[in-house]
Subunit: 167 residues, 2 copies
């Protein structure tokens, strides 16, 4: 194993925040406002989700992270939602794929029956292809639903994968 | 005019809560847990949204309500989301249609460019047809995404309507 994926601990935050900040500042993949504060992002990535994980390289460096949470409350809470971020230095090493596979197993362990991504930016073609390769379908495309910081309004996909049948 | 639509006031709550409670207890249209508390629903319908409206009949009785809020934060906050409820006694009088048209004008006035419904229960055929008649498209269908209280897992639609172009 060249990496491990484990639950987030409070002591990870100082290393995690710059990775998240760099990603969201670019304004090309996630809807978080590029000028979000550290407190805003900590709430969204750590406090609100049901669980957050980090991916560590062999020397213990954090190179990625994901969260998992119910996508809806109440009668829609059997479908989960996840968000994934890979550190700039960790790109191209299969970390997003590893985290997505980990999150699917985690989702099933937590009792979720399916996983939904609500706003996959259409111009983020690498991500779209990766999710498709991992079994997610584009169930619909939202016209102009993402305000890309360089390209203006671009389409976003809703992607979905059934993970389990009701037990 | 046989009805008016006006902003919610605190004094409306005692009349509004039973209408919302009756709707959500049925568990066939909205994801709110059927056993949601009054406090839960007040937060979701009144406190969290950007604005909430009520529809009053000629004698001032509240017969419907809707909320409007951004559907996403940050770079997706130009798309709004609304939820509509008509009192059981007010069904079949065009109130849902009137509120949806009011909400679209309100959305444009608030600067939103589009409106999205995230979880339109497929078995709620009257609602699906009404939103289509009012210009919303089914952009995708989420398999088994709603846990219907009588029918079990049923599909839900994502519906979307563009309201304006960037000014």
């Amino acid at each position: 194993m060249t990496h491990t994926i484990r639950p987030f601990q409070d002591s990870d935050w100082p290393a995690l925040w710059p990775i998240l900040q760099a990603t969201f500042q670019a304004g090309d993949t996630y809807s978080f406002a590029p000028d979000s504060t550290e407190q805003d992002i900590r709430q969204a990535w750590i406090d609100t989700p049901a669980a957050t994980f980090v991916l560590c390289t062999a020397d213990g460096t954090i190179a990625g992270t994901y969260f998992i949470k119910p996508n809806q409350t109440g009668l829609g809470n059997h479908v989960c939602n996840c968000g994934y971020v890979v550190a700039p230095a960790g790109q191209g090493q299969g970390y997003a794929s590893a985290m997505c596979e980990h999150s699917q197993a985690q989702a099933v362990a937590m009792g979720f029956l399916a996983m939904q991504f609500n706003l996959v930016v259409s111009t983020n073609e690498r991500a779209v292809r990766l999710w498709q390769w991992l079994g997610f379908a584009i169930v619909g495309t939202l016209p102009g639903a993402f305000r890309h910081q360089r390209l203006g309004l671009v389409d976003a996909h809703v992607m979905f994968k059934t993970l389990a049948t009701p037990g």
